[in-house]
Symmetry: C2
Subunit: 207 residues, 2 copies
DNA sequence: GCCCAACTTTGTCAGGTGACAAAGTCGGCC
DNA sequence: GGCCGACTTTGTCACCTGACAAAGTTGGGC
């Protein structure tokens, strides 16, 4: 095996762990399996990261960065406000249901984080970062249309992202890999978009 | 250890597994740990259930039954329609965030189910059962008030429950055990209730 | 009162886990 | 050109896992 500086080995191992776990689940991410994925001795993992949890931490950070990058890269098109939101959300949905296992992996880490304070801190920070990004994009979009948001952008973001996460979880629970998404889930997504846009514009029924 | 018929041992083991896993997480639910929780030999688990997965299945079914029972037992009070919904949702929230670990456990099983077709089937059925229950209660409530729902009850239920699950997950990710819930989460819950009620009554901004 | 089937216990297996130590190998720097 | 520190490999702990077999033990039915 070639001699590679640790600064290169690190991202290689993170990527190997990410690939393996996205494919076969967090539970399959033993240090041995991850090392084998990269074609490296098991002890290399411990040499590079010290502890398995440190590797996991790095994987989650990588996953977060990718996710936020994808969100930011989405193209809202140039329609009216509501249509732009719709386009962004659909892009996000495509991204989350692409079947590369990254979304599942994030859910698994979220489950792990409930029992592990260290992981919880990371996942919590990640969530806040995503919410911040969403709020920021929403604000920018509204501003571009000269719209004054009826609710603080952050509140809309939290409401929307909670609904979105719930729907992706539902999708993951209901889907059969080959088939299209459950129509109830897709309908839920449309309702969510409509209510979120309504929230922004100050729909009368909302207290 | 006393000689107990398997028909009694079964629920005892399920309860022991439930207690243990709610307390320490699914990962701590080895057959040995579960047997020890009940004060029984490890092989008893295999005698009674054959396979660990069969035990897990039984635990999930128990958890589902409890959850639906709690939902059904909630008291909507006797205010106007919107207030009754609100009361029910708050009861559900209290139930889900009580800190007995059952909610966390359900999330963990949902994560497991993403990689295990057998579990997925159970969790999927559970989800549909909960949605059906919610839709049913919503219909009954609307009928009692002479309200004609602007959307099919099932659609409202899917939308609401997805949002609710997202918010409980957010709560689980953000909370620090001793402290009160994150205000953003609670605000999200209120927004969710308001939009769900608005959906029922046919809020104008919703397409 | 006894006997058979249902249940429980003890013991063991093969395999997987995270972690580490020690020896080996490589590459850049002097 | 050699050497020293950074990296890799091999080997090995101690432990935990699900599963099973075989030998008890118990209780209900006759």
């Amino acid at each position: 095996m070639a001699h590679v500086p640790a600064s290169e080995r690190r991202p290689q191992l993170v990527q190997a762990a990410l690939d393996l776990m996205a494919r076969e689940g967090v539970a399959a991410g033993s240090t041995r399996a991850i090392a084998a994925e990269l074609g490296v001795a098991q002890a290399t993992v411990h040499y590079t990261f010290g502890t398995k949890k440190d590797l996991y931490r790095a994987v989650v950070e990588q996953l977060t960065a990718e996710f936020i990058g994808n969100v930011r890269a989405a193209d809202p098109g140039d329609g009216p406000f509501g249509e732009q939101i719709r386009a962004l959300v659909h892009a996000l949905w495509e991204n989350s249901t692409r079947g590369d296992g990254h979304c599942e992996l994030l859910s698994e880490f979220a489950a792990l984080a409930m029992r592990d304070p260290d992981l919880q801190e990371i996942m919590s920070a990640m969530q806040r970062e995503i919410e911040g990004t969403a709020a920021e994009m929403l604000t920018a979009l509204a501003e571009a249309h000269g719209i004054r948001l009826a609710l603080p952008a952050r509140e809309v973001a939290v409401f929307f992202l909670a609904g979105f996460d719930g729907l992706t979880d539902r999708h993951l629970a209901q889907r059969t890999p080959g088939e299209p998404a459950d129509p109830d889930t897709l309908r839920g997504l449309e309702v969510l978009i409509a209510t979120a846009v309504g929230l922004c514009l100050g729909a009368p029924a909302i207290s």
